[in-house]
């Protein structure tokens, strides 16, 4: 009896998954033909996740909002070209990353190149980055200088290699490597500082 019950559950789950996929396909088709309801459904379905992506690439919330907005406009403009070959979420995410990159490229002209000197001092273990919560880490990432933030995101989050990053950002591979190292370094220091502060406030409390 229990066996059948299990099988039933699996079937229901499979059905549900199938339904969901079909649903998404329908929504995408609706968006492609310019249906406002479909666009709204799609937006509400994916906006929170995509906002998470944009936040990582932006210096603050309002910049992330801009990216999200621009990204979704691009999504709706190009959704007709989506061929259902890869994951739709991955496709959207790539658009958000591209919008953020574009923004960065435009802005980088305004910022002087940051100096590359590696901070002196003791090496901190990378483990420290694993311990911190996503929200906390997000804030720290946002505080990074734009280029470090970009390299860190592209390498760690998108899993790009330095060659790809160097092409995307029009920098040399060496620069990409050193920027990543520097980004990690800054992040680790900040995490450490954060812990120290937490520790302090704990003791004073």
């Amino acid at each position: 009896m229990a066996k059948y019950y299990k099988l039933g559950l699996i079937l229901i789950f499979a059905e549900h998954l199938h339904y969901k996929l079909k649903d998404l396909k329908k929504i995408i088709a609706g968006c492609a033909s310019g249906n406002i309801r479909a666009q709204e459904t799609l937006y509400h379905k994916f906006a929170p996740t995509m906002f998470g992506v944009c936040l990582r690439y932006a210096k603050d919330k309002s910049e992330a909002e801009d990216s999200l907005q621009e990204g979704f406009i691009k999504v709706f403009q190009n959704i007709g070209n989506f061929r259902h070959e890869g994951s739709f979420e991955g496709w959207m995410r790539r658009i958000m990353v591209n919008v953020s990159l574009e923004k960065y490229r435009k802005e980088q002209l305004m910022y002087p190149v940051e100096d590359m000197t590696v901070l002196e001092g003791q090496q901190i273990s990378d483990d420290i980055l694993a311990d911190i919560s996503a929200r906390e880490l997000m804030e720290l990432i946002q505080q990074l200088p734009p280029r470090y933030r970009m390299v860190f995101n592209l390498y760690v989050m998108e899993g790009m290699n330095h060659k790809e990053i160097s092409e995307e950002m029009k920098i040399s591979e060496g620069t990409s490597k050193s920027n990543l190292a520097r980004a990690r370094d800054i992040l680790k220091r900040k995490v450490k500082e954060l812990y120290r502060e937490v520790g302090k406030s704990n003791t004073t409390a």
Partner: protein
Amino acid sequence: MSDRLNIDKSIRDKFDNFSEAPPSHVWNNIQGQLAAQKRKKRMAYIGWISAAAVVVFAVLAGWYLNDQKGEVAPMLAEQEIVQEQKKETTLPVASDVAEPVKEAVLLAEKPTSETSEQRLNVQEAATEQLTDEEFETYTVLLAAGERKDYNLLDRVEAIFQVKQADVDLAEFQKKPRREQGLTLNDQLLIAENARNLKNRTKAEHGWTVGAHLSPGYSSHSASHEQQYAENITYSGNDGNANVGGGFSVQYKTGKRLRVESGVYYSKDGQSASNSSRSLFRFNSNSDYMYADVAPANGGVESFSNVVKLSSEGLAMNSTAGVINMRSTPQGVVITTNAEFATSEATSIITTNGEFSQVFEFVEIPLTMRYSLLDKKFRIDVMGGLNAGVVVGNNAYIENDFGKQNIGKTEDISRINFSGTVGVGVNYALGKHLSMAVEPRLNYYINSINSNPYVDYRPYRVGVYTGLYYSF
């Protein structure tokens, strides 16, 4: 190293499930922007459709006018052509000449590329007060929706009112930075608007290119020496309808003044079908009676005229000048009166059909135009001179044997000058594209025939209808 990879993975996993609900205004902005795009697309459609409509209208008008050929019923008339006698003239039909319509090339409004593509160089950034780059950063915000823009306009207006009414632009540009109580966005928006304002006032100079068709009516004024006129083909001053066309270039030299040039093509000509059956009706000399002449009510137009036979061929006096025929056209009968003892043999050609004479001009205009009103509707008055190069000069007889080119009119000057006056209405379809309808009169100042016996000046009234693209 693998340790580091693990850590990267753990960071990635951490963020994989990370999501945060964006504020609701983002969706509103997206919706606004999508709606604006739709509107823009629709407007572009409307622009194209109206452009196409203009061309179709112009072509149809040309067709219609050309089709009126022969609608004027041939009138009975008398013509006695005898050299010793004064004669009654005939009242024949002037009809028109078929005309190829020159296709106008439409100039499309280029889609304005999003500023997001632009790259700006660093030096510029250093020199500008509120840098362009900053604007680029906020283009998304600017594009966010018209609602925002209207608010912005209101705000800018308010600022203008609070300050003295005539804020100097230069001054204005400096101010937003010092403005207290305005957000950075507001300042940027204001500055953006100021920049637009600057651009708008800057548009005192600029180029416009256009293509047009001009359905119109051409005719001529002519006078001849008595001796020449006696043997002339008769063509009433009925003129004919036809379609011209061309390209034009305008340069805006001042707020209201433009200089225009271009290349136009136009046609002028007339046709004649003298009623030969009555030609000799009252002529006592029966020798002139010719048996093969078309029956009186056959409905077939026929043409006859006095010609001069010589070793060169046949010479015939037409309204615009002497036409030399090297050989006798097919279907044409020559009757010679041998009984008159005049120094020159008098001959008459007769055919069932129609004689026509066509001149084609390529005109290079140089005109000035002045805008009486310069809003979405612009009203221009214009005037100027054209150099008209005669590129086509042909005479035809069209009868049962088809349309035969019988030769050309002699003594036609290659280059002639005409004056043009006109009034035009121009309607802006978009930022760059506009449509204009402009009636013009074009009158040749000199006789295009250099023969002292002939004074022939074509004129043409045309409705120049076209599309213009400004940049």
